[in-house]
Symmetry: C5
Subunit: 382 residues, 5 copies
C-alpha cells in the first residue's frame, strides 16, 4: 500500500523533468499537458454580508462578476482548454510567464510578485488508491483569487463550508485571508502522507529487531525514495511560504501575517519530520547492515565449529581406513591389530572434540548460539 506512493513517486519523479515545451520554444507559450481534463469553473463571490456560489459557470459569468464583490474566488479544475488560459489572462491581467507555469507540470513551489497580483504555485499530495502529487496555482489580486488545479479533489470543501457562516474571520477578511486558508488546506494535506511514512518506518523498525529479511530492505529503499521526493517538493514550499510571511504590502494585512506565520510553522514541522525520517531510514539501513553482518558471523561460526570438529576426526577415520597391508611388515598399520586399537582411537577422537569445544568456549563462540536473542529481548522488556 505504501508502495503506491513509491510508484506514483517514480512516475511523478521522471515526469517532473520531461518538459512539455521544446527547448528554446517561445517563452510564455501555453501548451496544455497531454491527458489534461477539460476545465470546470466554480466561482464563489462573497462579502461579509452576501455570498454567491456558482458551480460550472462559464467564463462570461466570471467576466460579469468582476469587481462586484470584495472577494471573487474563481476555482478552476482541469487544464484541457488552451483558450481559457488566454481569456483568464486577459480578464485579470495576468503575465503570460505565470500562465505558462500553471501548465508546465511540475513546477518548483514559488511565489512571484507581479505589478497587481501575486502568483503562487505548489504541489500537494492527492490521497486515493495511489499516492500522487498535484499542482495547484493561485493568482491573488486585490479583489480576486484564482485557484487552478489539475484534477477534482475535496481539499477545499471545508473552506467552502466555513464560507457559509457570516461573522467568521474568513467571510470578513479580504483575498489575503482566503489565500491563507487555501494554502493552509493544501499544506495540511501533507500530514496524512507523513503519518503513513512514520508508521511504515516504525513497522520496519519493529520487524527488523525480529531479524533482517530482504523485503524489509526493499520497503526501506522505497521509503527513502518517497522521502527524497517529498523533500524535493517541500523545501521550495518552505521558501515560498517564508517569503509570504515576511511580506507586508498592499496585499497582505498585518493580521493575516500572523496566520501565515502559523502556516509557516506547519511547513517547518513537515520538514522537521522529513529530516527526522531520513535519519531514521539511514539508521535503519545501518542497523540492517550490522544485523546481516551479525547473522553472517553466526552462520560462519556454526560452519566453522562443525567443520573444525569433524574434519580432523574424519581424517583420523580415513587414516585407519587405509588398506596398507599389515601382513607385509610390522610397520604397516600395526594399530589395526592392537587389542584396544578401536577404543583408543575413539578416545582420541573424543578428546580432540572436547579440546576444540573448550577452545571455542574460551573464544566465546559457543555462548552466542542460544543466548543472543534472549539477551536482547530481556534487555528490551526491562
Amino acid at each position: 500500500m505504501k508502495h503506491n506512493l513509491h510508484n506514483g513517486g517514480t512516475n511523478m519523479f521522471s515526469k517532473g523533468y520531461r518538459r512539455k515545451t521544446k527547448p528554446a520554444a517561445r517563452p510564455g507559450s501555453i501548451l496544455v499537458p497531454d491527458g489534461a481534463i477539460p476545465p470546470t469553473i466554480r466561482m464563489t463571490c462573497y462579502s461579509p454580508t452576501e455570498l454567491e456560489d456558482n458551480q460550472n459557470c462559464a467564463i462570461d459569468q466570471v467576466r460579469q462578476m468582476r469587481g462586484k464583490y470584495p472577494v471573487q474566488w474563481v476555482d478552476i479544475v482541469g487544464m484541457g482548454d488552451e483558450a481559457l488560459f488566454e481569456q483568464i489572462g486577459q480578464l485579470f491581467g495576468i503575465h503570460r510567464l505565470a500562465l505558462e507555469d500553471v501548465v508546465n507540470i511540475p513546477q518548483r513551489a514559488k511565489v512571484e510578485t507581479f505589478k497587481d497580483h501575486l502568483f503562487i504555485v505548489c504541489q500537494f499530495p492527492r490521497h486515493g488508491r495511489k499516492h500522487t502529487f498535484e499542482q495547484a496555482s493561485f493568482f491573488i489580486g486585490k479583489d480576486f483569487v484564482i485557484s487552478w488545479r489539475e484534477h477534482p479533489s475535496d481539499c477545499f470543501d471545508t473552506i467552502r463550508d466555513r464560507l457559509q457562516f457570516t461573522g467568521r474571520a474568513l467571510r470578513d477578511s479580504g483575498t489575503d485571508y482566503l489565500m491563507y486558508a487555501l494554502l493552509d488546506a493544501l499544506i495540511d494535506s501533507y500530514f496524512p502522507s507523513l503519518e503513513r511514512i512514520g508508521e511504515a518506518i516504525d513497522r520496519i523498525d519493529v520487524e527488523l529487531e525480529a531479524g533482517p529479511s530482504r523485503p524489509l530492505i526493499i520497503r526501506l529503499h522505497g521509503l527513502r525514495h518517497d522521502l527524497r521526493l517529498l523533500r524535493r517538493i517541500v523545501w521550495p514550499l518552505r521558501d515560498a511560504v517564508d517569503s509570504l510571511t515576511n511580506r507586508h504590502d498592499w496585499l497582505i494585512a498585518p493580521e493575516t501575517s500572523i496566520y501565515l506565520r502559523d502556516c509557516h510553522d506547519h511547513v517547518i514541522r513537515i520538514i522537521d519530520s522529513l529530516e527526522s525520517y531520513r535519519e531514521a531510514c539511514s539508521d535503519l539501513r545501518d542497523f540492517y547492515s550490522t544485523e546481516v553482518g551479525n547473522r553472517m558471523n553466526e552462520v560462519m561460526k556454526v560452519l566453522t565449529i562443525i567443520s573444525t570438529i569433524f574434519i580432523p576426526l574424519s581424517f583420523l577415520a580415513g587414516l585407519y581406513g587405509m588398506n596398507f597391508n599389515p601382513e607385509v611388515s610390522g610397520w604397516n598399520m600395526p594399530e589395526l591389530e592392537w587389542r584396544f586399537g578401536y577404543p583408543a582411537i575413539l578416545f582420541v577422537m573424543a578428546a580432540m572434540s572436547i579440546g576444540q569445544l573448550l577452545f571455542f568456549k574460551r573464544k566465546g563462540w559457543l555462548s552466542s548460539f542460544t543466548t543472543t536473542n534472549h539477551k536482547s529481548n530481556g534487555n528490551r522488556t526491562d
Copy 2:
C-alpha cells in the same frame, strides 16, 4: 531502563504528527487532546513586599486579582476543559492562534510576539519510571505570567520556594525575570536525560571493547533514536531562546537579558552534548562493524587453517583406502604392499601439515589467535 525513553520516544514521535485538528479546520479552534486531565489553577501574586499563593483557585479569583500585584503568576496544570481556554483568552486578551497552539501537542518550541504579550511554547522531559516529553506554554504580559502544562510535575517547586524570600532578585523583578526563572527550570530538566545518555554511551563503549554482541547494537540503535528525538526538540528551543536573548523591548529589561544569555548558554551546551553524543554513537557503530569484521576474519582463519590442513590429508588417507586390486597387476596400489608404506605416508602427511603451518605463519594468520586480545589490553593499560 534507558529504553523507556526509547519507547516513550517512539510514542511521542508518532504522536507528534497525528494532528488533532482535521485538515482545513477553522484556524483558532480549540480541541482539547484526548485523555487530557481536568485543569487545576494555582495563582501566585507577588510584589517585592507582599505574596499571595492560591492553590486550586477558580477562574473568578484570577479575574479578581487582575492588576492588583506587579506580577500575577497563573500556573495551570491540565488541559481537559475547553471553556477555561476561552475564559483565560478573554481575561488576558490572548490571541486564539496562541491558545490553539497550547492544546495542539506537540508544538515546535517557539516564541511569538503579540501586541501586548509574548507567547512561548516548548517541550521538556518529564522524569519518572518512563521518559516522556511534556509541553509547556507561557504567556507573558506586563503584569502577568501564565504557565500551562499537561501534567503535574515538581519542576517549578524550587521557584516557588525562592519566591518566599524577600530581597531576592526574583521577588524584586518583574514578569520578565519570572519568565527567565521558569524557562531556566525547564531547560535544566534536560541535563539528567543527557547524563543518562552519556552514561549509556560510555557503558556501550566499554562493553564493545570486550567484544561485539547483538544487544549492544540494539541498545545503540535505541540511543540513536533518542538522540534524534531530543535533537528535534532542542534545536527549535535554541532558536526560541536565542530570539528572546536578542530582544530588548518594553517587556524584557536589560538586566534580565544577561540572565537570558546564561539560559542560552545552557541550551547551546545541551546541543553541543547532543551533537557530540551523535558522533560518539556513529563512531561506536563503525567500531562495532569493524569489530564484527575482525571477528569474522578470525573465524574464517580458523576454518581455513583447519580445512586446508586436513582436507589434503583426508584425501591422501582416502587414496590409500581405495580398493584397487593389487593382485591384478603390479600397477595397482603397490604402495600398500611396501614395507614402510604406512610410515612413509604418515611422514608425508606430517610434512604437508608443517609446510602449511609455515605458510600460514608467514602470512601472519597464526599469531592473531592468541595475542589479539592481550596486545590490545596491554596497549590500553599502559
Copy 3:
C-alpha cells in the same frame, strides 16, 4: 550509450585542467586551443521593423554594420583564428582578459561586468553520438551581442526562426532580451541529459531489485561520474544566472528581469534534479551493498547447511570404514558384526540430519531459501 557521456565526461574532465597557457604567461595572451576549427561569422542585425541576416560574413561586414541597427548579433562558431580575436576585441572594445577566457577552455560559468559590456561564459551539453560539453561565450553591449561557440550546433536555430516574426517580444526588445533568449536555449539543452540520467537511474533501480550484478555497479559508477561532472558545471552557472537576475542597470530592463527569473528557476530545477539523482545513486549503491550482503548470507547458509549436515555423517561413515581388526579382540569395532549394525547406523544418521534440520529451522535459515523472492514480490504488487 549512457557511457558516452561518461567517456566524454572523462575527457572533458581532464581537459578542463590542462591549461593551454603556460604558468606565468602574460595575462591577456590569446592562444587558440589545439584542433580548433576556423571561425565562421553569422551576423543578424534587426530592429522591430527590419532584419538582415548574413551567413559567412567577413569581419569587414561586421565593422560596416556597427551601430546601424538597435541589435547587432554576431554569432561566431570556431576559434581557430587568433587574428579574429584581436579584430573583434578592437571593434567592440572588449577587454583582453575576457577574450583570453573565450579561448581558455573550459571556464567556470561566470558573468563579468566591464565598463560598457557584459561578458558571460558557460558550458552547455552538445548532444550527438557522444555527449560532450561545449563552451559558449557572450559579449553583450548596448547595441551588440556577440556569441562565440566551439563547434557548429543547432541550439540557436529556433531563436533565429522566432526572429523572423515581427511583433514578437524578441524582435521588439533590445540586446538584453536576446541575451536572455540565448541563455535560455543553452540552459534548456541540459534537460535531455538530465532525462537520460534519470531514466538510467530508474533502469538500474528496477534491475537491482531483480538481483545485484557487477555491470549494474559499473553503470552506477559511471553515472556518479557524470553527475559529479554536471554538478561542477551547473553550480557556477547558477551563480552566474543569479547575478544576472539581481542586476538592474543600463543594460537589463525590468521586464527582462522577469524573464531572467524564469531562466534562474530552470537552473535551480536542474540543480534540484542533480542533487536528487546524486542521492538516488547513493541509495542505489547502498542498496546494492546490502543486496550483495544478503546474497552472500544466502550462499553461506546453503554452504553451512549442507556442510554441517553431511560432514558429521561422512565422519560416521568413515568411522565404520576403518579397518581395525575385529578378529584380534572383541573391542575392535564389534558394531560391524552386529545383526542390525547397518540399519542402526543409518537410523543414527537420519536422526542426526533431522535434528540439524530442526535446529536450522528454529534459527530461521531454511525459510529464506524459497520465500525471499516471493515475499518481496508479494509486498511489491499489493
Copy 4:
C-alpha cells in the same frame, strides 16, 4: 601513553555535564566543586617603570593595591574557598553570574562583556602524566586582570619572566596586552597535544599498511574520541577569540588588536589541524575496513582453492573405497580389477587438479597469493 588523553578525555567528557548546581537553583549561587584545592593568590602589579610581585598574598593586600598601578594582575589558583569569590566579586565589582561560571566546570569558552569589565572563560590542556583539561577564567578591567585556574601549572611562567624586563611591549602596555599574552599562552598549550595526536595518526598509518590488526582500530577509536573532545572545546574558543578580535572599545587598543588577530590565527590553525586529523582518522578507518575485506578475501581464496581442488579428489578416492562386491557381478566396480585402474585414477585426479588450477589462474586468484605485498611495496618505494 596516547590513551591517557583518551581516559582523561572520558572523565572530562562526562564530568562536563554533571552540573554541580541542582536544577532551578538560584542563579548566581556559587558552589565550589568537590575536591577543589584551597586558593592561593599571586599578585603582580606593574607600570612601565615599577614592578611588584607578591606570592601567596592575602585578599587584604589585593585590596590595598587597588588602583596603585596601571596594571594589577591577580593570579588565583584553586577554587576551594567560597568566601574568596564573594570578596573578589565585591572588590572588583564583578557580576555574580560570571563568578558562578568560574566555578561551574566545565564551561564553553566565551567572552562576556559587562559594564566595566570583560569576562573570558576557556579550557586548556594540562600536560602531565595524564592529559586533562583545565578551566581558566579571566576578568579584565581598565586597571586589573584576574586570572583564575583550577590547579597550579607553569603555563604563565614565561609571561612573568618577560614582565621582569622593562622596555618590552608587555611592560609598557595596559591590561589588554596582558590579556592577550595570557590567552596566547593558553592557546599555545594546545599545540603539543595536537602534535602528539598527529604523530599517533602517522604511526597508525604506517602500521596499517603493514597489515590491519585489532589494536590499531582500538587506538584509532580512542583518537576519534580525543578529537571529538578537543573539537568541542576549541570551536567555542574560536568564537570567543573572534569576538575579541573584532572589538575596538575602551578596553582593547588598536595595536593590541593586531596581536589578537595573531592569536585568532593560532586558534584557526588548531581547528584546521583538528578537522584534518578527523578526516585522516575517517580515511584510516575506511582503509582499515577495506584492508580487513582484502584479508578476508585472501583467506577465502585459500580456503576455496584448497577445498575445491581436494574435495572432488576425495570423492573419487572415496568412490573407489566402496565395498561393492565385484564378485557378485561384472557391473560392480570393475575398475578395481583393471590392470591400470590405479594409475588411471591417479591420472584423472592430476588432470582435475591441473584443470582447476588453470581455472583459478584465469580468474586471477592465484597471482594474489605472493605478489600483493611486493607490488604494493614496489609502488611505494618508486
Copy 5:
C-alpha cells in the same frame, strides 16, 4: 612517483605543527628555521622607461635604491640570517609580527593590512623529484615589493622576462600589478600538481574496473592524503585572494582589481578540482569495496557449489565404504551384494549432482561465473 607528494606531504603535514617558537615566547621574536639556507637578494628596480636588475646585491644596495624608482622589487631567497630580517624590517618599516610569520613555516595563507604596507603569505608547490610545499611571503608598499621564499625556484623567471619589455602592462603599472603577477605565478604552479592527481585518479579508475587489488587501495589512500593536504593549503589561499579582490584602496588600482578577479577565478577552479577529486576518490573507494564484496561473493559461490555437490557424494561413497559384515545378517549392507549396486549408486550420485546444478542455476549462481566480465565489457564499449 605520485607517492613522493604523499611522502612530502606527510613531512609537510607534521612539520606544519611543530612550531619553532616555544609556547609563550615573546611575540614578534624571529627564530630562523633549522636548515634554512643563507639568504640571497635579487633587486629589480624599474620604471616604464628604465630597469635595473641586481643579482646577489647586499642590503646596503637595497637601502641606496629606496625611492629611486616607482617600483623596487626585492626578491629574497633563503631565511638563514636573522639579522637580515631586522634590517629589512627597519628599512621598509615592517611590523615585527609580519616578520615573525615569514620565518614561522608553515603559515596559513593570509593577507594582513598594516598602516603603509600589505603582508601576504601563502604556500605553493615546488616541483622537483619530490613534491614539497614552499612558503612565500610578500610585503607590498607604495613603491616596493618584497618577496621572500625558502629555496631557489624558477617560478618568477617568466615575470622577470616580461619585465624586460617596455610598453607592457607590467612595466607601466605600479606595485599592485607586480603583486598580481607574482601571486598569479604561484597560483599557476598548482595546476601541474592537480593534473598529476587527476591522471592518477583516472588511472586507478581504469585499473579498478579490471579488478580490485591491494596496491590500488594503497595508492588511493595516498591520494586522499594529498588531497586533504592540498585542500588545507588552498582554502585559506582562497580567502586571502578573495579579500584582495574586494579591496579598493590607496594600494590597489581598479584596473588591477580586474586582474585579481582573474586570479580569484583560478583559485576557485583549483578548489573545484580538489572537491571533485575528493568525491571521485570517495566514489572509487566505495567502488573498490563493492568490487571486493563482489569478488568475495564469487569466491564463496565457487566454494559453495563445489562443496555442496561433492560433500553429499563423498558421504554416499563413504557410506558404502563401511565395513559392516554382510555375512552376519542380510540387514548389513545388502546393497553391496546387489547385481547393479555400483551402477545404481553411480546413477544416484549423478542425479543428485544434476539436481543441485539445476538448483544453483535457478538461483542464478552459475551464470555469473563466465558472463560477468563479458557483460560489463560489452556495456562499456557499446
